[in-house]
Symmetry: C2
Subunit: 346 residues, 2 copies
């Protein structure tokens, strides 16, 4: 027997509408009737059909999380798993289903909007890792499906986003290294076609400037978020003889550390290291990495909260949120060995 609202209503001696009201927790139902209906629902294990509900109410109870195809290579960085975890957690709390869109190719990515968004499969989307000039963002901007960007988009004014304070974080890392007395501070950055990469670079340079240092271009490198790229960047950086390096992500820092170990350069004795992210790998390396911790999972949670607010109409208009970062001092920067910060290093 297929259960429907009508059927449950018959069993409880009420109409379809009343059952619907009970299920949706509307108040104008006599307590006695409500209980009777709930009893029937419980004993039959009835669940309203999601498709029918969506069709009638124009709400699906599903939100999408979009991770662009460029991220593919980057999936062995724990950043995305953690973000997904936060997003998922917030979805569970809100009894919302999470649809995950992970792309391998540009073509797949282009299909997203027409196939998923335009068809009303989702009530809204969280978009991550957008790049400058991202076509998906342009499309979303011209459509009327709510969306929230994780990270700062090109056009921040008109878009709701949750970002991390990359700039302040990188600044504090640079300041910390300066204060420790390092004088040739190298930089291994993230791609600058993302605002995160850009901001970390800007923050780093600002930090140095605040100490009165002028950065030598020879000491600047760029990776692509992979461990391997960190490794290569560090090998190349060695020629410039840095006495410390700020690496824009933990994963790249682990690669950088590998290059250092291979060259029998001791960290932090010969070269100090600070990275960015504060993910598990930073705690497992030898030595443990000093790093700028960002609240990845919380960022995901917040993005979902904002999106659901937008979907429900509880909140409106472009909203911006910036999550704080925190410098975590461990072993790799050498602060521990050196006693008070500011003590000369050599």
């Amino acid at each position: 027997m297929k259960l429907t609202l009508e059927e449950i209503g018959r069993m409880a001696g009420v109409s379809r509408s009343t059952v619907s009201r009970v299920l949706n927790n509307e108040k104008s139902v006599r307590p006695e009737v409500r209980e009777r209906v709930q009893a029937v629902v419980k004993e039959t294990g009835y669940r309203p059909n999601a498709a029918a509900r969506s069709l009638a109410s124009n709400r699906t109870g599903v939100i999408g999380l979009v991770i662009p195809h460029r991220v593919h290579t980057l999936f062995d960085d724990p950043y995305f798993p953690l973000l997904i975890q936060g997003v998922s957690q917030a979805c569970n709390l809100a009894e919302t289903t999470l649809a995950l869109f992970l792309f391998q190719t540009e073509a797949e990515e282009e299909e997203l909007y027409p196939r998923v968004v335009a068809s009303g499969t989702v009530d809204g989307v969280v978009v991550t890792a957008t790049r400058t000039g991202d076509p998906l963002l342009a499309r979303l901007a011209s459509g009327d499906v709510p969306y929230v960007v994780v990270g700062r988009p090109d056009d921040p004014e008109n878009v709701t986003y949750v970002d991390v304070d990359n700039r302040a974080g990188a600044q504090s890392a640079a300041l910390h290294l300066c204060n420790l007395g390092y004088e040739r501070i190298g930089f291994i950055g993230a791609p600058t076609n993302t605002t995160a990469g850009l901001d970390r670079r800007t923050g780093f340079l600002e930090g140095l400037a605040m100490c009165g240092a002028v950065q030598d271009e020879q000491l600047m490198r760029e990776g692509d978020y992979t461990e391997e790229s960190g490794y290569r960047a560090m090998r190349s950086l060695l020629a410039a003889q840095p006495d410390a390096v700020f690496v824009a992500t933990d994963t790249m820092a682990v690669g950088a550390l590998r290059a250092l170990v291979e060259s029998e350069i001791s960290v932090p004795a010969d070269v100090g290291l600070v990275s960015f992210d504060g993910l598990p790998p930073s705690e497992r390396s030898l030595p443990k990495l000093s790093t700028v911790r960002q609240p990845v999972s919380a960022t995901g949670v917040r993005a979902v909260e904002l999106l659901l607010g937008l979907v429900n109409g509880d909140i409106t208009g472009p909203l911006h949120e910036v999550m704080p970062t925190e410098l975590v001092i461990r072993e790799s920067c050498g602060a521990a060995r050196m006693g008070a910060p500011g003590a000369p290093h050599h």
Copy 2:
């Protein structure tokens, strides 16, 4: 203006039904008419409403991927990201939407069946990391929503699953270490409430037995998939003075390696190491880990293929598939240093 089938039909001078036929690629439409309709669809950017389609056709075009709450801690192991990637890839290929269910608590997990499966939100589910006596499996077995298990369930006969040949893989690792001349081979296993953990243990012991070795209980440890647990297990194992260790996952092996490095025990000179999984971390460690590679992403792909087959009725009944593993010899086992396998070690 809201677009509907009817509306598109009017524009193209045909009926709703004809537009539907064109959209669903049914053949009984004159080419000329078909083109006319397609032109209108293209220029309007019309997309059929997913909810309405689901309601009428009783198919959602969505499948679920379920990762139980126990996995939570385990999310910094690249296994699940890779699996998700495979699943996602297969979904994209089939124009199917992937719903990800990640749980933090038992309670959330219990909500899955009633909220998602019973309501018809998904056409089917892929379930991973099931444990012995998993209640979700019992529930799925008694329902009529298609599902595929990744890994071997308790009750293999009646369930469609995709497993990896853990036993053969572990066996080959044990044999390899034996042949290298190691004599006190330690074991750091995965939890034995999963068939994967069990099979790797069984395979390992079988491998030793095939070499005529009898395993000392002192040399057996168990971790919980985390890097930390591998670290601790290795520290504890040191007392038993193994000359080689087989670790049941790469992540735990990285932890084990860390313990060894800390104790200034050289790998492979003092202790040989072989692990299982063949994930990126095994290639990044120093020394690089010899490991039994399993095709994680392909497993995900295959699970989705089977599930969609089940959903579409293309295939039927319980189907079992076992993916092969492959021993990858790198540095940590010492084979490279020692020349021909079988050469004595000390």
